[in-house]
Amino acid sequence: MTTGASGRFDAILRLRILHGFLDEERPTVASMAEALRVPVEEVAAGFDRLASSRAIVLDPDTRDIRMAAPFAGRPTDFHVTIEGRQYDANCIWDAMGISGMLGGVNAEIETRCGDCDEPLYLTVRDREIIGEPAVVHFAVPAARWWDDIGFT
């Protein structure tokens, strides 16, 4: 994260992005520029700085937000429902993280087994996680996550 005026702007932008996802939006440069009432060029530069600091991940072609952890910027196999609102997460850690970010609020998590593709359901209730038997697998060592953050 940068310091000074751009650092303050980036902090505001990062929060606005997360709140956009919480409102079931998929924040873009244009929508953030409108929300923050600043030129799109300023927001685009902010997106690039946030991506450089790994606060978000941008699609290399479109520059749209691919990840603003715990949220995914595109449909995934990790669906989270909280108070009737539906979100996509990047992985099972992030799926739980959406509830965790909100203080452990009640949540329904639906994903698929990484082997047989059958649905698996978890539920957060009263800050505890419950659900059918399942195990979590991390395929890539932590030191190599950013080799391809889309596959961990």
């Binding site: 994260m1 902090a11 505001i12 990062r14 929060l15 997360l18 600091s53 790994r54 606060a55 952890a69 715990p70 992985c91 099972i92 850690w93 992030d94 739980m96 993280g97 959406i98 509830s99 965790g100 970010m101 909100l102 452990g104 994903t111 698929r112 087994c113 990484g114 082997d115 047989c116 059958e118 698996l120 978890l122 957060v124 800050r127 996680i129 659900g131 059918e132 038997p133 399942a134 195990v135 979590v136 697998h137 991390f138 395929a139 890539v140 060592p141 932590a142 030191a143 190599r144 996550w145 950013w146 961990t152």
Partner: protein, 72 residues
């Protein structure tokens, strides 16, 4: 990071080509997620240092070399 129905399902996925990594419980993942994302909506959030990240992993029982981050 994915969820699997059982260790046997992970074994089958590995046989099918995914790398063999580390397996841990749903409860551990929940503990990790709560700690990791607790401050994400703070205006003063910043990316954690490697040592801070390792502390969170350790609090979730994830202490093996697999969980060691590298600078970058």
């Amino acid at each position: 990071m994915r969820l699997f129905r059982s260790e046997e399902h992970i074994d089958r996925a590995v046989a099918g080509g995914i790398p063999r990594g580390e397996t841990f419980s749903v409860r551990q993942c929940w503990t990790l997620a709560q700690h990791w994302f607790a401050d994400r909506l703070s205006p003063t959030w910043r990316r954690r240092t490697i040592d801070e990240a390792h502390e969170i992993f350790a609090a979730s029982g994830l202490t093996r070399p697999f969980w060691r981050l590298s600078p970058g």
